[in-house]
């Protein structure tokens, strides 16, 4: 059966893509962020995943308000990145794994998570930037991928308790696949930030650090909060942290922290990085 080697949660701000394109990793503004990644890359070199399941939210590249799925999954042989309108370089295609995607679809729907299935799917910065951070400059990316997209755009969003259960179902889907593949689960977005309104620039360091700690020791802690609670505590886009919670759920059981980093600000965002493995 396929094996989950661990999980990595990380922020996905578009400007990171520009910083990478301009080689600004050692620039004083960016250094505290980029310096978080070498330990994660070393861990990846050690655990050698074949496949990355990437849980993220689309920002209006593949999905628009005409059709907005709560949970969607890719089932394509290849996923293309494309122009998002911000002048960030478009990255080369990512390899999929159609057999694995369909196994996951069968398993998730059997568990009553009624996925929207996508045989074509554009992947935006929330998918590409984390992979670029973990495997810098490696094109094509050295892992096959399955994108899983969670709606964080149009409310109501799936509530935290539901996301955690969804993550657990993802974990069981991975572990029930008849394959010797090694799988890493990646959750992207957050942490606290708010782009819109008079409260723009809102950051909540205390909550973010508590969330990162609890994600290791007591992931159900955050399920006490509703989505509006999380908007209040972490900002209108900080609520993307439900992707971190979903990825944590997929790790099924106890985990240990491999590495963590937290730095404010990257653009308007509190940036977080949390690498976990099962114990």
């Amino acid at each position: 059966m396929a094996k989950i080697v661990g999980g990595i949660n990380v922020t996905h701000v578009p400007y990171i893509g520009r910083a990478i394109a301009n080689n600004l990793q050692q620039d004083p503004y960016w250094k505290p962020f980029f310096d978080g990644f070498p330990p994660v890359r070393q861990w990846l070199a050690k655990v050698k995943p074949d496949i990355a399941v990437v849980i993220y939210n689309d920002h209006g590249l593949n999905f628009f308000l005409d059709k907005m799925p709560t949970f969607a999954i890719g089932a394509a042989a290849e996923y293309n990145n494309a122009d998002e309108g911000w002048g960030i370089p478009t990255l080369p295609p990512y390899q999929g794994d159609v057999d694995f995607s369909w196994h996951m679809i069968d398993s998730l729907i059997e568990e009553e998570f009624d996925m929207v299935t996508c045989q074509e799917m554009l992947v935006d910065h929330a998918f590409t930037i984390p992979l670029e951070l973990f495997w810098p400059g490696q094109h094509p990316c050295p892992v096959r991928t399955v994108p899983i997209c969670v709606n964080t755009v149009q409310f109501p969003l799936p509530k935290p308790a539901r996301c955690f259960k969804f993550g657990q179902a993802i974990g069981r889907a991975i572990e029930s696949w008849d394959s010797d593949a090694r799988v890493v689960v990646i959750g992207t977005g957050g942490l606290s930030h708010q782009l819109d309104g008079q409260r723009a620039g809102f950051i909540n360091k205390e909550f973010d650090l508590m969330f990162m700690e609890k994600l290791i020791s007591d992931p159900l802690w955050v399920t006490r909060y509703s989505i509006p609670d999380l908007v209040e505590l972490t900002g209108t886009q900080g609520v993307e942290l439900i992707n971190w919670l979903t990825a944590r759920g997929a790790l099924l059981g106890e985990v240990a922290k491999v590495h963590a980093n937290y730095h404010v600000p990257i653009s308007n965002t509190a940036s977080g990085l949390l690498c976990m493995e099962s114990v």
Binding site: F64, L65, W86, V153, Q194, G197, Q198, G201, S267, N268
Partner: protein
Amino acid sequence: MNTGRQKRVIPGTTIFDGDVARKGYALNKMCFSFNSAENRAAYLEDKEAYCDKYGLNEQQKKAALSLQVLDMLAAGGNAYYLAKLGGIFGLDMQDVGAQQTGMTKEAFKAKLVEAGK
């Protein structure tokens, strides 16, 4: 438009729910079109005509043409899509944040740095 449901009030914050999504559909759809370089160029060519093509109402059109983010939000805009319009004019998130909070860009950036301490 208001369904009468009880809503959570968070100061300085709009929850982009069904009511707002319905209200802002045309504006957001126009912004979504700016993924295409060709459409971005067409917008710059004739902004008003482009707004009309997407069926923006007067409030939305005025807000979009003025690039006032709070006005665009009031007209139903969503931050993720509005960012594509801002991108055409090279506005970054600190420009947008400063504009909405009535601060200078430098003061807004300093506020972000302070939040990390």
